[in-house]
Symmetry: D2
């Protein structure tokens, strides 16, 4: 398995607010990840709003750092809220900065996605827009299992710890499947 | 017709770069609009990256001003590039700031969309994500005619004036249809 | 109100099986409709699989009859299952037969959609594909309210009567909104 | 390479008409395929319109035969027209019959898609709905290259032979990429 090294996974949380359930879901993923994975959350809040005039002058340091973190990863785990039936603006912004040639850092990466929402549907519409974007990024998105965390406020406690037992088990299984998926694509 | 007043249309360009073909398409729309329309471009570059913690403290002045311009309009004309098969990050950001309750400013507005791209497909995938977002905004998007400006670099000159005669005619017709559509929904 | 005549609504159930929850949802809609509406279920099972060679020879009688029922309606109410994250094949088949020029019968009609599924998400992905198709049909789809009937097996009894009280109230409200929407577009 | 055996690819043409450009595109693919591929067109016209009551009584022989052809393949090549911004009804019908458990035949297959249309956009909206459906089928769809055959009537001759030289080269390259993609996933 990869020479004993852990698989580095870039965790991308689409929401910038402190109390984000999607960030909390990534924290839960870190807690529940199998020993072969090493999920690290990549911050998006410091990226400027995408402007191609900025890009042609050279990536600002936060954009450069972000792109290199994606590049150094063995896989990407997106956690996205659903805003207006799509991914959030900060996630779209990160995707747009991350897609530019030459050497687009997402290209060829295995990817998986989860979504959390206080509404019952759990962000399903956001995931299906994100899957389209991932074709453009040339990521290889895991088909199944899928996780939609609806009614999120009932599944995390006030310190944003994932407390729903069924969901904890489901997330652990999801992460094990993602590990297997990354390893399959690395062969 | 609306008591003789012009119909105010908020023009939303999804690209922030100076030489944007989508901004240029809105300029062409201003040039070609029927006398009943008054399209004004609304700037998006000054909006902060969406963060719900900012929202709960109160809209920053640029967000407030943006929302009020949308609210004061009789209709919205989106001009979006296609980035990663969806709308651009600045447009998604504007949509997310513009959708928040109470009093979401897009709700109930007639809307139309165009897209321009240097690639041949002209942004069609972005338009179909945007149509989903407009359901969430509760805009009423015109079904037809539709405009996809592919190979944009051949259709505007070096000063970003729309020079393609067929497209100029098509855009004028599109804007007349949008005028009729707004008036129909105002009855 | 329309000269006292009822508003004729074509009810389109995307599933052909006898025990379909989507057909049952349309039956519930008939039961719960406001007095101004007259929903009639249009059968789709007798339509041949779409083949353009058949079309050019002339619509077979079931296709012709189907198109005329849509044409005679004041609005369309779709009830679709979700198969493979989209509408069912019988519904897609009906849409394709119903879209052909000249005189496409769906053009300009107000439309609304519901979906039922034994799975928890209630068909949301099908609705968002269907909304795209309705742009092509040039239907005017109501934005809101929206109904996704998840866990359908718990909401209908063994005789397929809708028994969930909250959902009955929600459906009645949905149908009243659709009535208002049709009337608004008829002005 | 697979022990010297050819890779069997099921070619799925979404249009039933005799003069279909999508079927013609599959014929061109057969002509231009690399020596390692063996594309065979799977017929869809004999499948009944999907009805779950039929399924529970047992697959009719044409459905069974179709499912076994998919199962026996090493990969799937879809060629879809765009009808109402989505795949055609016959293709959706084939997908729905092909997705049913137990032992869904598409699960785990590498897949690629092309689309042909007499309109300029070449079926791009159909491909993006089809990509969603393929997540449900648990196919692994190649991200890139992509082929959209717009203005199809100019690219095939009257005997439906693909005559456009640039497109022939593009299709050959696409098929070589698909061969490599299948082999990668078989490791």
């Amino acid at each position: 398995m990869n020479g004993g090294k852990k698989l580095k996974v870039a965790g991308i949380a689409g929401s910038l607010r402190q109390g984000s359930f999607n960030r909390a879901a990534l924290q839960a993923a870190i807690e529940l990840q199998p020993p072969e994975l090493d999920i690290e959350i990549v911050e998006l809040g410091q990226l400027p709003l995408y402007n191609d005039d900025i890009r042609v002058e050279g990536y600002p340091p936060p954009v450069h750092a972000y792109r290199e973190k994606i590049r150094a990863s063995d896989g990407v785990l997106f956690a996205t809220p659903e805003f207006n039936y799509s991914v959030s603006a900060p996630l779209k912004n990160a995707i747009d900065w991350g897609s530019r040639i030459p050497d687009p850092p997402y290209a060829g990466k295995p990817a998986a996605m989860i979504s959390a929402s206080v509404a019952p549907l759990g962000g399903v519409r956001a995931q299906y827009h994100l899957r389209h974007m991932c074709v453009s990024l040339n990521c290889f998105v895991m088909n199944t299992p899928q996780i939609y965390i609806g009614d999120a406020a009932k599944k995390f406690d006030s310190s944003l710890k994932l407390t729903d037992a069924a969901l904890r088990a489901e997330l652990a299984k999801f992460l094990a499947a993602f590990r297997d998926y990354i390893l399959r694509l690395q062969r």
